[in-house]
């Protein structure tokens, strides 16, 4: 009871603290100077149609690198936590039920489509809403579907690890390329910018997003597999 009262009080207090921000700050009328600068400079400087992508991959690319690192650390943590050996008998539970016919069929049908869609999303991140993370997640859904459809099957774990490692290394290498060929680490202008709106444009951004997409896809698949509990 006491606890409930305290929880209630804590939430009231928290809401009270949120009041001046979430409820009183209102809606902005104009983008601020920084936003305007991004909107105006991104197409010109980086030839990206999607300004958000320009910010994510280039201007604040260091954040994105960090973001990849976060996901990577999480994957590593999950991988260390959930091995078959550590989960023991509780992990390797009795044989799972086979998936239904509907699920099996859908999985067969959708897997390649989903993968393709994911690739599309991350290769077009500089043009349309989308990007490496989004694409990676879509690819991971394909893996999820397959896990659900065939619980007994094993992912090509070695391959996944290799993809994950190499795409990560490629990201770093692309960043270094920017440092050597352009003006700084992670600068996508290491490659020719091309024409705004084309697939091959925006310098290294599509490449970066592609390796990020592969890496995220591999990592999320790895996490899903680990959560399944039969990772070696």
């Amino acid at each position: 009871m006491m606890r409930k009262v305290l929880v209630f009080l804590a939430l009231i207090g928290f809401a009270f603290a949120l009041l001046p921000l979430a409820y009183r700050a209102g809606v902005a009328d104009e983008p601020n100077a920084l936003a305007t600068a991004y909107l105006e400079r991104a197409p010109a400087e980086l030839a990206t149609a999607n300004v958000v992508t320009a910010i994510v991959v280039s201007y604040r690319g260091f954040d994105t690198l960090g973001e990849v690192a976060v996901l990577f650390a999480a994957t590593a943590g999950v991988g260390a936590l959930l091995t078959k050996k550590r989960l023991g008998s509780a992990g390797a539970r009795a044989p799972r039920k086979e998936a239904t016919e509907v699920l099996g069929t859908a999985a067969r049908l959708l897997t390649s489509l989903l993968a393709l869609f994911g690739v599309y999303i991350f290769t077009h991140g500089h043009l349309t809403p989308g990007g490496g993370f989004q694409g990676g997640v879509v690819i991971a859904t394909a893996v999820l579907l397959n896990i659900l459809a065939r619980p007994q099957s094993h992912l090509a774990h070695g391959l996944m690890t290799a993809v994950e490692s190499l795409s990560g290394a490629a990201y770093v290498a692309l960043g270094l390329l920017g440092a050597f060929l352009a003006w700084g680490f992670l600068d996508p202008r290491a490659l020719p910018l091309g024409e705004l709106g084309k697939l091959v444009s925006a310098g290294a951004i599509p490449l970066i997003y592609s390796v990020v997409g592969l890496k995220v896809g591999a990592e999320l698949s790895g996490i899903l597999e680990a959560l399944k509990g039969d990772r070696e």
């Binding site: 603290a17 976060v70 650390a73 943590g77």
Partner: protein, 1027 residues
Amino acid sequence: MVNPLYLFAASLGVAFLLPLVDKLGRKLSLALAYLTLAAWLAAGLSYLWALSFGGAQATLFGTAGFEAPLAIMLRVGLAEAAGLSALSLVGLLAAISMRNKLRDSPIGGLMTLLMALMGMSGIVLTRDLFNLFVFLEISSIASYGLIAYDDRKAALRAGFKYMIAGGIASALYLIGVVYIYRFTGQLNLDLAASSPGLAGAAGSAAVFFLLAALLVELKPFPANGWAIDVYHAADPGVAGILSGASATALMLALWKILPLLGPAHLSLVAGSGLLSFVAGNLAGARQGNARRMLGYSSVAQLGLVMAVIALNELYGLGGEGFVYLTAGGLLLNHLLAKTGLFLITEKAPSGGTTALGGLLALALVGLPPFPGFWAKWSLVQALVAKGQWAIIALILAASLVEAFYVLRWFGSLAKGKADESQLEPRASLFAPALLALALTGFGVLSGWNAGLREPLLWAPFALAVLLYILDRLSVFVKAPLAIAAVAAFGYLATPGLDGLRQFFALMLLGGGALFLLSAMRKAGPRRGLMPLLGAATLSLGAVLLADSALSFFFAWEAMTLFSYLLVLRGKEGEKPALSYLSFGLGGAFLLMLGLLGGAGLWPGAPAGPAWALALAAAGILVKLGALGVHVWLPGAYAEADDEVSGFLSASMSKAGIFALIALMAALSLVPAGREALNQGWALRGLGWLGLATALFGALYAIYQEDIKKTLAWSSMGQLGYVVLALAINDQAGWTTALYLALNHFLYKGMLFLAIAGVVQRVGTRNMYEMGGLIKKMPFSFLSVLMAIIALSGVPPLSGFGGKWLLYSSLINKGWYLEAAVAFFASAVAFLYLYRLIHSIFLGQPKPSQALVKEAPLALTLPQGFLMAILLAVSAFPRLMLDPIMAIVGNRSGTILAFEGGRLSSPLGYWNGTLSMVVTAAVFGLCFVWMMVNLHNTQSVKQFNIVYAAERPHTPATTHYAFAFFEPYRKALGFLTRERAERFWESAGGGVSALGGALRRLYTGNGQTYALHIVLYVAILYLIMGVL
């Protein structure tokens, strides 16, 4: 300076590739990871070098080829470089000490380790608010993974709690950062801080969320249960990284966002920090588990650093340099020491573990020469200058509690009582050793920077190190070496000193050398004794050398430190050492406040305000063991090694006397001070305190069965007389004080040395288990006999001179009742003195002690030396009194004067030489008379006594020694009911109960911890509204 981005690239590249590399073997992975960490360390050090010596300026690095405000900026300044180096060092060393487990765990462990440290480095370097969030998350998420890496269940439980706390903190941070963006249009820290958008309630609330997130990450009380659980449960290496490296990074993050904070925010930080410091230490006081205790200490230390940073902003304590010195010093001290200690907790007990654990623990509690000492000094100095007494009191009180429980742990470690379940038997001590080395190095550097450049002040530490290195050698090698060092010190130091200090140098250094000599009474290396005793002796010398407040306090603390370790070395020294140190530090803190307030204790020092003098005097009185704060004394003196007890009583106690004299001397240099002294009730009070100490010291002494306890209480009482005499504060009083001090040195030295021999030969300290030793140990008997004659003040030995001087000056001063009580006290002294010599040397011998031999030469030699001096100054009092009276000089009129061999006061006179001659003549005549009349003497055997026509059979029943003064206890026992002991015990119990109540907050339920956090934030917000 190398662009730090490359380091991030290297870390990430290595981490990304590790799963592949690992297929080639774990050794390669480990090597690669360590190399990366080493690269960070090298970079950090190179920045530090470039910025401090290379003339480089703080540099901003853009990312992705753009600059702020478009892009994220990294900054390398002095603080960043220092933080980076420190956390890389800690991370590397922790990683090295974790290598066995990293080898056997999945590769994820190594990966998360790399990521965690990279995240922390990012926190240190970035200047972008959102990027800061990303790095905070990298480090926390990697830490979540790292906590679980070796799959210990407790760590998993704690890790989940950590994640809940981290999740809440990151939500808070995001809300804060996004609204700061909303109000300022910037994510770059510097640009946001200079933007006007943050003024007003909404801006303040946005900053509050950001701050709240950082505060939660910094583990403030009471929202820190999760952190303590993690420290408790995680692998010690991980705990070390979290407590040391992560805390450093977070603290730098807090430091970074300072420009955003308004006064209300700063008050929150300061208040929260102080509360954490106090509450963390209180809760730690009850903790038995080493790691959890270190956890409490960690949150406390972080709180203090946090508070210092905020207080500097609030009160303008001293600008950026001040923050580097204090907050930086405290943080550095914390991170190196705490990491080292965490690593130690899993090592099996050994000599090395003890030494390193001791070094780190002593560093942690802020003893010299470690960085914490200097930082605390400057902190308190600044606070005193601003008159922030309440804060000072809080900080010092909590520091004392911290010292108590940290050293309690060390005490049990030193006694081999570590009861950790997960101990690594063959663990290498490389990492903790390096950390300890770094601590020492930084400490010496800080001291050098603080202006302590006199090499002799550092000599105690140098000698301790030197002798520790040689510790395996026999004591017969080390003792002469140590004595030579003391002699060299004396040769170098004393010529430049004034008379008073030379006089004390004789007792302090000479006494130290004497007791060093006596340490050769046992063969073998006697490990630890020589380094500590030698260093303690030199630290006494250093006290005399001090010429500034800081150097005095430095030497004083060094003395406390070494004597604490000496007491701890005693067989049952654990508890007494702890109480010794608690009181020693408490006294030292009072002294520190006095020194900082302006009380001068060195030649030519100014006299400070009255309160400063009172505080300094109070601190010194604690060290002297004045009644009420004496409870440490009997145990410490009794349980230390026997020669150490003598050293403590004969020599070290004189350092306290010296400090008191120096204080009064400084005071009487200024007319105003003289006036204050002459009419104040303060001196009368001091006199009564000294008197009460004398009386109760004697009263307690008579009931002791333990011979060393008897001597300990006796020492306390004798020092009481000195204080009383000093309080008289005129020429006669001072002469008396110095005379008594020197006498006490002589006879207490003899007593302790003789008793050391007895205890060594007999193997017990209970007097009733001895008896009749006069025939076995005649020399020791003679020594004790002379000493007790001198101590009791019976003519013709020099002790009577002390009594005569004391009563003469007391009556002359008009302190009649004091004189009467002093008379009573010295009569009581007869009781224990008689008991001492009777129970040990006279009466019926014990058959088991039939083969006891005279004490070894190493003990009898110094006794003989002291005896010769005692006889000389008894026969010719001027030998001793002339120099003393020259030192005292003409203090507000001459009261005592010599005419030939006759010393006269306005009341009477005393001719030491003549009384000696008369006594000797009378004694000689009586002796001859006896000899002439002796007929046909027969020596009879044991038990051949007139015993109601029966012959007794056992010495145990015949030797009347146990509970010797029972009737006295019946009559006056109500006086000695250990009220002070009970008072301090209940005070300690109160603190402990408070801590016990506080730590009930930490229920172990992660959800309750989450509730604490949310409530903490909400309450903080409300408080900010009020501010």
